[in-house]
């Protein structure tokens, strides 16, 4: 059984080459020329190093703020509690289960962990019922979700999840996050470079970059959740 992904990953306008060009200027890697978007002139940092970190930061931003979500569904079998998650899964925003019976509704499942299950739903491993919770806890194999109790009948799992962003490889790939979050990816990445061991080490600017990333993440949360966005403790 596999998930059916109902959406395609959106792309906006900023490309990885634009980020590389911008980084070349910010790190004085353009020499006396316009930045090409494919090379760093002096080699204090490598373009691949930048791209590797940009991929990590974009993924971190996706997990921190869930700016982009996809919908997916999977058929469930009576009595089976564990299901594999999509290969590009990062984070579950919400999960639902709907019985196959005509007229039944898709009910949202609450997130839980095995400790709560073991102490609050003692028979969850032995009996079946309409599931009410899902568990992605650390006691499960990688990329696995468990619903409890196991469904008593066939049905459909629905999920709104945060996918892995498209990998930036320096060929003009567009970011998976909206243009306005570009600064989060850019400064997060530059911060990683400036805090790495080497001649370019600069903890002051690296700390500044981290703050810029945090501000971007907080504002992204505010865009999604409005005035109810939780404040991050800093």
């Amino acid at each position: 059984m596999a998930w059916t992904i109902l959406d395609t990953k959106p792309t906006w306008n900023v490309t990885d080459q634009q980020l590389v060009a911008r980084a070349a200027y910010a790190l004085l890697e353009n020499g006396n020329f316009d930045a090409t978007g494919t090379t760093f002139v002096f080699g204090q940092f490598a373009v691949q190093e930048f791209l590797d970190n940009a991929n990590l930061i974009q993924e971190r931003l996706m997990k921190d703020c869930a700016p982009v979500v996809l919908r997916a569904t999977q058929a469930t079998t009576g009595g089976q509690a564990r299901y594999a998650l999509p290969q590009d899964w990062i984070h579950t925003r919400r999960m639902t289960w709907q019985a196959q019976t005509a007229g039944s509704k898709a009910k949202s499942l609450a997130s839980t962990d095995s400790y709560q299950l073991d102490h609050g739903l003692l028979d969850w491993e032995r009996n079946v019922a309409d599931p009410s919770v899902y568990n992605e806890g650390s006691d499960l194999p990688t990329l696995t979700v468990e619903i409890a109790k196991a469904p008593s009948q066939a049905g459909t799992l629905g999920m709104l999840y945060v996918p892995q962003p498209v990998t930036l490889d320096g060929t003009g790939v567009k970011l998976t996050v909206p243009d306005e979050l570009e600064s989060g990816v850019f400064y997060g990445t530059i911060g990683e470079l400036l805090s790495s061991e080497g001649e370019g080490y600069d903890d002051e600017r690296a700390e500044y970059c981290e703050q810029r990333y945090q501000l971007c993440a907080e504002m992204a949360n505010a865009l999604i959740m409005g005035a109810e966005a939780p404040q991050q403790n800093g």
Partner: protein
């Protein structure tokens, strides 16, 4: 507010003035300043939701979730056939109206006969409750527009004149990043000016921990705690 249209060339010239750097081949190249301007516009839009736009979708029968059009970064309000809808959170619907995704305007009972609420699932996804059973109705989204992209020197951007000063402050600060050291540290004053101006436009920004830390807004509170440890014994 006096709105004006500024071309990229005009904007760049103003940034050069701010930096005291007159030549296109000097420390800051034209291409570099173009990118700094674009970054500044996007950051400004993120902090203040400055540019807004409207998009219209056609509903699909019995469908709860819709993809936000690519011209919108984030939805602010949604209306259905001219009737405004109420914003709610995913949590509100999931735990206040269990099974909401399966309800349509034809469900009957206590389910309304036209969509009443909208929910933001992500920046690319908006949900409505109840789903429109008939389809082919108008769903109008008002939201934050994708920041204008200045592709050439003649490209124009809508800006209030009073916004230019704070944007120039931001551009100066971004440009100083590559200098590092004292020059960059000194430019933090410009950055704070910019943040203050952005905070005037968007109150939500003032709740951000990072924003408050940068502007030192909590220092006074920390130095004057409301509760003082009581001493033991007679008062």
């Amino acid at each position: 507010m006096a709105y004006t249209q500024v071309s990229r060339a005009q904007f760049r010239a103003l940034v050069r003035n701010q930096l005291g750097s007159g030549l296109a081949t000097s420390f800051w190249r034209d291409d570099e300043l173009n990118q700094i301007i674009q970054e500044a516009l996007r950051f400004y839009n993120l902090l203040t939701a400055f540019w807004k736009i409207r998009a219209t979708l056609s509903t699909t029968a019995n469908t709860s979730w819709y993809s936000t059009p690519g011209i919108i970064t984030s939805n602010m309000r949604v209306s259905f056939n001219g009737f405004p809808m109420t914003p709610v959170s995913v949590y509100d619907l999931d735990f206040g109206r269990s099974g909401w995704e399966s309800e349509t305007t034809a469900s009957g009972g206590d389910v309304p006969t036209r969509p009443q609420m909208f929910v933001i699932g992500g920046l690319n996804k908006v949900g409505i409750w109840p789903a429109d059973a008939a389809g082919n109705n108008g769903l109008v989204l008002d939201g934050i527009a994708v920041t204008p992209i200045l592709t050439s020197d003649a490209s124009l951007v809508d800006l209030g004149q009073e916004d230019m000063n704070s944007l120039l402050d931001l551009c100066q600060h971004i440009a100083a990043f590559k200098e590092g050291g004292l020059e960059f540290k000194n430019s933090m004053a410009s950055f704070k000016d910019f943040l203050q101006a952005a905070g005037e436009r968007n109150g939500i920004l003032k709740r951000c921990a990072t924003y408050r830390r940068w502007l030192g807004l909590d220092k006074g509170r920390q130095s004057k705690p409301l509760k003082v440890a009581e001493g033991v014994g007679a008062r």
